[in-house]
């Protein structure tokens, strides 16, 4: 039994070490791998919206930083289900969408940091990024 405990603790420690520090799993050495060595300055933010239950256009706002502690960047009205922004990387962005439902206003809020990942390929730093950062401003079911 003591052996079992020892092995369990060792296994847990190994998992913790493996997941917390050391080389990233993305680190490779493949000279044929396409490597983008320059960090992207701007990336797309995709805003996903629902149809407004109140049938009017939806008021959409984009903030640099948090909603309660950020800077309002832009506000507009839309009836589209998808909107895009091209924004500088390395910052957090928060988007809000105001829906009318009977006599109430439902403000949907979502936020994330617009960043790119980096990894080492044969001692060269390569950058990788998602096509777009999605902010989910859809009404919950």
């Amino acid at each position: 039994m003591k052996k079992h405990l020892k092995y369990t603790l060792i296994a847990l420690s190994l998992i913790a070490i493996n997941t917390s520090c050391g080389k990233s799993n993305d680190d490779i050495c493949d000279p044929n791998q396409i490597c983008y060595t320059s960090k992207p300055n701007e990336l797309y933010i995709k805003l996903e919206l629902s149809t407004n239950p109140g049938s009017g256009p939806i008021e959409v706002s984009l903030y640099k930083g948090f909603f309660d502690d950020g800077q309002l960047f832009d506000t507009f009205f839309t009836t589209e289900s998808i909107e895009y922004y091209l924004m500088p990387t390395g910052e957090r962005y928060t988007a809000t969408a105001k829906y009318d439902q009977e006599n109430d206003i439902i403000m949907v809020i979502d936020s994330d940091k617009l960043t790119s990942d980096s990894y080492q390929n044969c001692e060269e730093t390569c950058f990788d990024w998602d096509e777009e950062m999605i902010l989910d401003l859809k009404l919950a079911d």
Partner: protein, 227 residues
């Protein structure tokens, strides 16, 4: 007149006889149930599959001597609306069957919640919740087996600090000091491990049902175990 009287007498006799039969049948049925339960208990207590699986009924309130150990635990509490992980470490007292541990609990994903921010204004945000707590747990074992495993019940209380983080909002919300009670079944299935299954009243969780099922595995370092 005679005929009527005879019919009445017959009716009374028949009624009493029927009642007697029914009562006897009921008593026999209950007796059969008692006998069956008793036989099953005897079977479980006297004829175990292994010699070290012999169960012994013990006094759940009795303690032995102080046996403090270091222990870790991992568990979850969940219901149809929520799911949280719970990890902890601390003191495991095996003599008097209690534990005092420091625990951290968290929801491992974001959940969409809706709350009223002002009159006619609702926020729909994505929420994660966290809680840090000192957990007190007392166990009462009433069946012990020769192989050292025990079965009983437990009662616990989490004294902690709870808060929610919300995507897009810098400030945490719904932060509060909390007392979370729980109880259930406890099975110490070896000298170094225990499994608890029970109920936890997680009332501080603002946008989910407070009634949760709590499942927890505890491991402790026992120097007295046989090699």
């Amino acid at each position: 007149m005679f005929f009527a009287c005879s019919t009445l007498e017959s009716f009374i006799y028949f009624y009493i006889f029927d009642m007697f039969i029914n009562t006897t049948d009921m008593v026999l049925n209950n007796f059969r149930k008692v006998l069956l339960s008793f036989s099953l208990l005897c079977f479980l207590l006297i004829i175990p599959l292994k010699s070290d699986g012999q169960p012994i009924l013990t006094n759940p309130l009795s303690g032995s001597y102080f046996q403090p150990h270091f222990g870790i635990n991992a568990g979850t509490f969940f219901n149809h609306e929520d799911f949280l992980f719970d990890f902890g470490l601390g003191l495991e007292e095996l003599g008097y069957d209690f534990s005092i541990t420091f625990n951290g609990s968290f929801r491992p994903y974001y959940k969409k919640v809706l709350f009223e921010e002002a009159d006619n204004l609702f926020y729909q945000v994505q929420e994660r919740v966290l809680q840090f707590s000192i957990d007190f747990e007392k166990r009462f074992y009433f069946i012990q087996f020769m192989n050292s495993s025990k079965i009983g019940v437990y009662a616990m209380m989490k004294f902690g600090y709870f808060y929610g983080t919300y995507k897009g909002l810098k400030k945490n919300r719904n932060d509060t000091f909390t007392i979370t009670p729980g109880a259930g079944l406890s099975w110490q299935f070896s000298k170094i491990s225990r499994l608890n299954l029970g109920y936890l009243y997680f009332d501080q969780n603002p946008y989910a049902n407070p009634h949760t099922i709590n499942l927890k595995l505890s491991l402790f370092i026992n120097k007295d175990e046989k090699k």
